[in-house]
Symmetry: C2
Subunit: 369 residues, 2 copies
């Protein structure tokens, strides 16, 4: 079975570039020197289609089919085949990926997904409500207090800012302990099911151990940064080797893959398909009109990739954030529907954070009732 | 002490963008809501300089100083501070990074470096000679035979193509065993010190174990793909937790960080400074005029970053490849000098590979004698 990758090629001679890509992503060897039919016809990618893009960005959309043996069933090599060396070619962008069943079976995908998270949080229909604890510079004790306030006000998930690491004023272990205790205490008072989600922004050798340690300390979910630690580390944390908690992926460092329209990979592939393949239950990305530049169309493409059929993999929640405010909630629901995890961070702190958080919850419930 | 990052900002209002960056990379929180001086003045980055770029790409070069506490001494968070969320802003590129001594002490850097590898390989003055085994699709036994031929002909390092993974026709363990045996046998015949270098293109949880397994099987060096497994996994493999072998870094997936002149990070930072910080002894990148688009100037910048003063860290070898041929060797030496690891792959297979490999070695020795 074959993996089909459609590249947008905006250079002068798309057919020549496509011929280079199908070799570059497989044998990296002069094709004319290959005398073995198996290598020439099976191992090397084969061009199976070509059509003009016919949109504002332009270029030619060329599909290359790669034999699944070239991938060997592992995510790191799947990334190499999709984009490894071609990442160094300007004027090429991955626009579509069709994964064969033979590869999809290697990836369990989201452990909870939309349905599982809704059940866990007892939120059968409304948008999920998430926020991040900030600003960096607060002590672990202060972050714990803030986490408790947000949990008590009715947020579903209170996450670390992705950039919280082992800063001296709030190191990982102490922060996770204080915030987990605060959420447990708030849930005890309210009967709620809020989850505290620490950022696994830790050294490579600690990612899996930190996931288990966080679970032991009482964290209810985990944040992973695949741009920093690799997509396969996300898969590892969500696998049976991890603690079995819901996992959110964060786009840190991944922007360079998507923001240049003629280079990189489509927004939906990086922030939807690959996150889901690696097991994310929620995928954070910046919504249109916040602090970043993603267009409304690009955001919709991410949400679509989070939910589109993909083998037997569960759908995951799009989690649009990046400068959202309570005023944007109607627009967010119009764009994404109710199967969305709303992420509002700093804006909840304009005025009384507890009041704002309670209003955020009430607003989301009203809008879908 | 502060980490100084100089961003090229090509948008309309560079001062406003810089103000957004210094907040985005630290507190991700409305600055006007911060009443604590410590957070406003220490945790948030501070703009320390601004000047017109004055080159063909244009824009303003704005320097932001970040307190070292924001990094917390770990590479994943260093990457977040340099480029994490700003990766999602078009029109911003990291052009210079100055690391304070307080952060540099956390990174031992290359274990061998230029001097250590020269001693290990008994090659005190000439360029190192490296090649890759290919094409993908050969069996492990066939790759072993090819490795032996190349080792016997006088290559210093015979590496896996980075894309060799666990393909069914040559899975990792079998490939490493066959190629290691072949090099040991060739070294026994010639008295040489050739190193076989497998690609650690394996699942996240196996990277460190595979490094040790490879060493046990007789591999003499290791290839790591930080774009796929994360820069911190490269650091881990080169640390005392690894098997203590020389390590080469490969640019797979990293092209999107460098190829757009107004976005990403400078070539020298990604393929020089960060590789060296993470401990690479050799950094592969595509030389000007091969299969990729890097300019001569960008290649020189990478080489300079491989060798420039960086705390107490050893210099690493630039390893220009990507479609090089024996005819390009004089140009390569003119560009890089003798402290270079030449990488010629497929071109050695035009005609008799053993003859070509012997001529490659003779040529390199003549040119520096």
């Amino acid at each position: 079975m074959t993996l089909e990758v459609t590249y947008r090629i905006t250079g002068d001679d798309p057919a020549k570039v496509a011929d280079a890509i199908r070799v570059e992503q497989t044998i990296e060897f002069p094709l004319e020197l290959v005398d073995r039919a198996f290598i020439r016809d099976v191992v090397v990618g084969q061009v199976t289609g070509s059509r003009p893009a016919g949109d504002a960005v332009g270029g030619q959309l060329v599909t290359i089919a790669y034999d699944d043996g070239v991938v060997g069933g592992e995510l790191p090599q799947l990334l190499n085949v999709l984009w490894g060396n071609v990442s160094m070619l300007p004027g090429v962008r991955v626009e579509e990926v069709v994964l064969p069943e033979s590869l999809l079976v290697s990836f369990p995908g989201p452990r909870f997904g939309v349905a599982g998270l809704r059940a866990l949080l007892d939120a059968p229909a409304r948008p999920l409500l998430t926020t991040a604890i900030k600003p960096m510079g607060l002590s672990a004790a202060e972050l714990g207090v803030l986490t408790g306030v947000l949990a008590e006000a009715g947020l579903d998930i209170v996450k670390d800012d992705h950039s919280l690491a082992n800063q001296p004023w709030a190191p990982f272990r102490e922060r996770v302990a204080r915030c987990s205790e605060a959420v447990a205490s708030a849930n005890g008072r309210t009967g709620g099911r809020c989850l505290y989600m620490p950022s696994l922004n830790v050294p490579a050798e600690q990612v899996l151990d930190a996931a288990h340690e966080a679970a032991t300390l009482g964290a209810g979910a985990l944040l992973v940064l695949p741009g920093v630690v690799g997509f396969d580390a996300l898969r590892l944390v969500t696998s049976d080797a991890g603690p079995g908690l819901p996992v959110m992926s964060h786009p840190s460092l991944l922007g360079s893959y998507v923001v240049t329209p003629t280079q990189g990979l489509a927004h939906g592939i990086v922030l939807g398909t690959l996150m889901r393949l690696a097991g994310a239950d929620l995928s954070v990305f910046p919504h249109h009109g916040g602090r970043f530049s993603f267009s409304a169309e690009e955001c919709r493409a991410i949400a679509e990739a989070c939910r589109a059929p993909l083998g037997d993999l569960a759908a995951c929640f799009p989690a649009p954030g990046g400068g959202m405010t309570p005023e944007r909630v109607p627009d967010l629901l119009a764009t994404y529907g109710a199967d969305v995890a709303l992420l509002i961070g700093g804006a909840l702190h304009r005025g009384d954070v507890a009041d704002n958080a309670r209003r955020f919850r009430a607003q989301a419930e009203e809008l879908v009732s």
